[in-house]
């Protein structure tokens, strides 16, 4: 091709450079189209809908035995002093003051005998709320914290850099930095169990059925039916996180 003298070599190079750098700039964000696609196997079995796992806690049933905490620890190697789940005890005094505590040590057993001036008392189990709009996943700078297609909030232990931003962002205090792996740790809803069709360890261990787990996409699941029958609320709804852990009989004192 004969070289056109009106376009100098320099101009050509300049144009090429601009074009190339433009392309490169765009390719900084090569996967901007990352979106939630269909679940694994969804296309093969169209008849069965992908599950959406959720959790419910009937606080009126909880007896504060903390079997859930022990089961969680036995199932998941939760490090000493960190908690994937815990049971809060609320004791309201006659003067309206609320005493809140957790049996965080000694096998998680509450031992104090009843006190005179307590007018109302109850237990509230806590765990990761597996929020629909989980802030922890939102703020993870490297995409290591994510929501699985089944609605379970998980941490990629091989990509987590251990910055702790998710720990700060979680309004429920359910995350921690694992002192040995140095990555974010949290409740996985026993993902390894539920994907095998088993119950999370805490649900299994609860002797009073205060903890419930199920598939919201299955209208006949234990949880779906229960949710239709009972009135419930979530923790800190003002955070806009849309938790999928529903609390029945939640007291105003509980945050």
């Amino acid at each position: 091709m004969p070289c056109n003298d009106s376009i100098s070599r320099r101009t050509m190079i300049r144009r090429l450079a601009i074009g190339a750098s433009g392309t490169l700039l765009l390719s900084i964000f090569p996967k901007l189209s990352f979106g939630k696609e269909d679940a694994p196997g969804a296309s093969q079995t169209p008849a069965k809908k992908r599950p959406l796992y959720a959790y419910a806690v009937d606080t009126s049933r909880c007896i504060g035995c903390c079997a859930c905490m022990r089961a969680c620890r036995a199932e998941n190697d939760v490090p000493e002093g960190r908690f994937r789940t815990w049971v809060e005890r609320y004791r309201v005094r006659a003067n309206g003051e609320a005493l809140v505590d957790v049996a965080a040590q000694d096998n998680f057993v509450f031992t104090e005998p009843p006190a005179e001036d307590i007018v109302k008392a109850f237990f509230v189990p806590k765990l990761c709320n597996h929020c629909e709009k989980s802030v922890c996943s939102q703020v993870c700078p490297v995409g290591a914290s994510y929501e699985s297609p089944e609605g379970v909030v998980l941490v990629d232990q091989k990509r987590c850099i251990g910055c702790g931003y998710c720990v700060q962002a979680c309004p429920y205090g359910t995350r921690f930095i694992h002192p040995e792996t140095h990555t974010a740790g949290k409740c996985t809803l026993c993902y390894h169990r539920i994907t095998r069709g088993e119950l999370p360890a805490c649900v299994l261990a609860c002797p009073k059925g205060a903890r419930m787990f199920g598939d919201l996409h299955d209208p006949l699941s234990h949880l779906s039916v229960f949710m239709k029958q009972r009135r419930y609320r979530v923790l800190k709804p003002e955070m806009g996180t849309h938790p999928k852990c529903y609390y029945i009989d939640l007291d105003l004192e509980v945050v």
Binding site: A17, A144, E198, K208
Partner: protein
């Protein structure tokens, strides 16, 4: 500024900066290439994360095996366990995780039969729901006459069937409390019913079962509440199931003679106790069936028998 000293104005010469641009360009290109190579393959498959991370999570082996695995070998215990009040308690809640034991039966399970193990659930706490059985163990030991404080709960209450229910908990009938409400509240405008102070104490047994309560007050079991023998299992705020327990083993929880019971400091304490099973031979020449309910003989010591007439007269 250009108008007066056009000739003095220095035209910039940028040529020395071109290599810098080239270096920058090379650096950025190299960076982006490296980035392309290092992003994991499965990243972005389902969202902004590495899809294989879910497989990492799934690969973890469960440690709790669940009741079904226990039943495979311990069918006998499972059958007992399933009918009593501990039916809702998972085996592994008391015995620890069973993963290892299932793989290798020589690995023992935990026993959890010390007093403190039971008190994890049954210690009296103000935050425990009132309907849940809970004890101040010192008071309870005093009441049943246990004088050795080191005695384990399982000496009387088996962990698998703590109350020795004589029929399956699951077949217990729903106590018709709600029907009682309706019988007054439907179509009646009796003002007294709407005043809290004058409202009948429907949650107290003797309101409906006055005749039985009256005869009960004359018996010897006045220190025991109705729901001790007529176990009440609360289902909602207004209803529950009633299980009447006439298993002799249940009566023997209090009345069996044990080394750790009674005669504390030479003084008789707790309820009267009997030698078992010698007691059957003592009272009858032809040996009675040891599963015969005690109330067949001892009904008068508890309360008069339930009669339909008395019930409907209420």
């Amino acid at each position: 500024m250009t108008k007066q000293n056009d000739d003095m104005k220095v035209r910039p010469d940028y040529r020395h900066a071109y290599p810098v641009l080239v270096i920058l360009f090379v650096l950025v290109t190299a960076g982006l290439t490296v980035r392309r190579l290092l992003v994991p393959k499965s990243f972005g498959e389902y969202g902004y994360f590495r899809a294989d991370a879910m497989d990492d999570e799934k690969a973890i082996q469960p440690r709790h095996v669940g009741r079904a695995a226990c039943v495979e070998c311990h069918e006998d215990i499972a059958a007992i366990h399933a009918k009593d009040v501990h039916a809702s308690v998972e085996c592994e809640t008391c015995h620890g995780v069973g993963g290892k034991h299932v793989k290798d039966n020589d690995v023992p399970m935990a026993r959890a039969d010390a007093k403190n193990d039971c008190l994890v659930c049954h210690r009296q706490l103000d935050a425990r729901p009132g309907s849940f059985p809970q004890v101040d163990w010192q008071k309870h030991y005093q009441f049943v006459g246990v004088n050795d404080p080191t005695t384990a709960c399982v000496r009387c209450h088996s962990g698998h069937e703590p109350l020795y229910l004589d029929h399956d908990l699951r077949t217990a009938r729903l106590h018709p409390l709600i029907q009682q409400c309706n019988s007054c509240h439907m179509g009646r405008t009796d003002e007294t019913l709407k005043k809290p102070d004058t409202h009948p104490k429907i949650f107290q047994c003797d309101y409906c079962h006055a005749d039985l309560a009256k005869s009960f007050a004359q018996g010897s079991h006045t220190k025991v509440s109705c729901t001790t023998c007529h176990l009440f299992i609360k289902e909602t705020a207004f209803s529950g199931r009633i299980v009447r327990n006439t298993n002799p083993k249940f009566c023997l929880l209090c009345h069996r003679k044990e080394a750790f019971k009674g005669n504390a400091g030479g003084k008789e304490s707790g309820p009267p106790t009997i030698e078992w099973p010698a007691h059957i031979k003592d009272v009858s020449k032809d040996a009675l069936d040891p599963n015969r309910p005690c109330v067949n003989c001892h009904q008068d010591q508890i309360h008069a028998l339930y009669t339909k007439e008395a019930h409907h007269a209420m």
